[in-house]
Symmetry: C2
Subunit: 207 residues, 2 copies
């Protein structure tokens, strides 16, 4: 679903959707009104097509949610796979994972926004939460390895570091706008610097 | 409303509430079901008292929301007032503000959770968002001052630093539980270390 990352207009001149463009609009509506607060009628109105035209593409509202959160999760797990497959030290893999995750958040912002609001009310949501926990464990393992390597300060609990690190990363969905004045590259660099080197400008013995 | 921070049970043996214990339960229900999704009937059922008993204490659901978000905001602004009144450098004030904000989040967790979910649908919500923006500006000013003092690395935009810093702080509401294994003091220290000194353990020239 690479085309979901392109920023072409969601709605064409004439209503006519493929599964991907339909999903993009549905995710936008879910984020605006809440998933529970959105009916298939709402979607039909927003899309300008009949409900049966929607059902031509997807079996249910639930399927749209599943596709939406999976698009976010697949991006994050691809970033994790790439980072952990890198040769080198755990700290470098962790740094790459943080950067790649910011890139995924920026590219798939509405999808990650949807994912982070999931509370576990349905089976699809439970499954999304389980995948999120799997991702969190993967991050915590990398932090533990980096601490064992002596590359992360030993005086902070690895699980806590993992949560705070991705707390900062995930907070982007609250305020980041791709058309704003902060570019994706600047954002990625800022997160990396703040998390790994801290705010203070003191010289370091080595890097 | 200092008693709101105590962790005495919200519900007594017999239903009987003062304004504060009523507010505490209302905020809990708002967080569970969403403010828009909660009716005065829901509150009445949860509290085990009639709606008119609720109206004895508050004029409306809106008033409960206002009291709830104000309790969070008042705590954050008190932290800001204390931090900015400190003698010394902007970086130290900023560090104190981050620590004090974490303390407020821990003490007033349900109230801050409610605040951070506010989207601006009503006048009360708009006012809360305006106060949040005022707080954000105050943080950004401290970051700018610290950068002008040479105490923060000059290669990251101050507004971006302020957002990421409080993105990390605010992310606590997603996972922190006061009865969990991480104490408030450990949490405050972890946030301070991660934000100001970064993850890496390299020796520093000075502090």
């Amino acid at each position: 679903m690479a085309t979901l990352d392109n920023r072409r207009p969601a709605r064409r001149g004439r209503p006519g959707y493929d599964k991907e463009s339909l999903l993009r609009v549905a995710v936008q509506v879910f984020n605006e009104r809440g998933y529970d607060g959105t009916s298939m009628d709402d979607l039909s109105k927003k899309l300008g097509i009949t409900k049966s035209a929607i059902y031509h593409h997807v079996a249910s509202k639930d399927e749209l949610l599943r596709m939406g959160v999976d698009h976010a999760l697949d991006g994050l797990f691809a970033a994790a796979a790439e980072a952990t497959a890198m040769p080198g030290r755990a700290i470098d893999k962790l740094e790459r994972l943080v950067q790649a995750s910011v890139e995924v958040l920026v590219e798939r912002l509405p999808f990650v926004t949807l994912l982070l609001r999931v509370r576990g009310n349905t089976e699809v949501e439970q499954r999304a939460l389980a995948r999120r926990r799997e991702f969190d464990r993967l991050v915590a393992r990398l932090v533990s390895e980096a601490e064992a390597d002596g590359d992360i300060r030993p005086d902070v609990d690895p699980g806590l570091v993992a949560r705070l690190l991705f707390g900062m990363v995930n907070s982007l969905v609250e305020w980041y706008r791709p058309d704003g004045r902060t570019g994706a590259a600047e954002l990625t660099e800022a997160v990396r610097k703040l998390a790994f080197d801290g705010l203070r400008p003191q010289p370091r013995a080595s890097r």
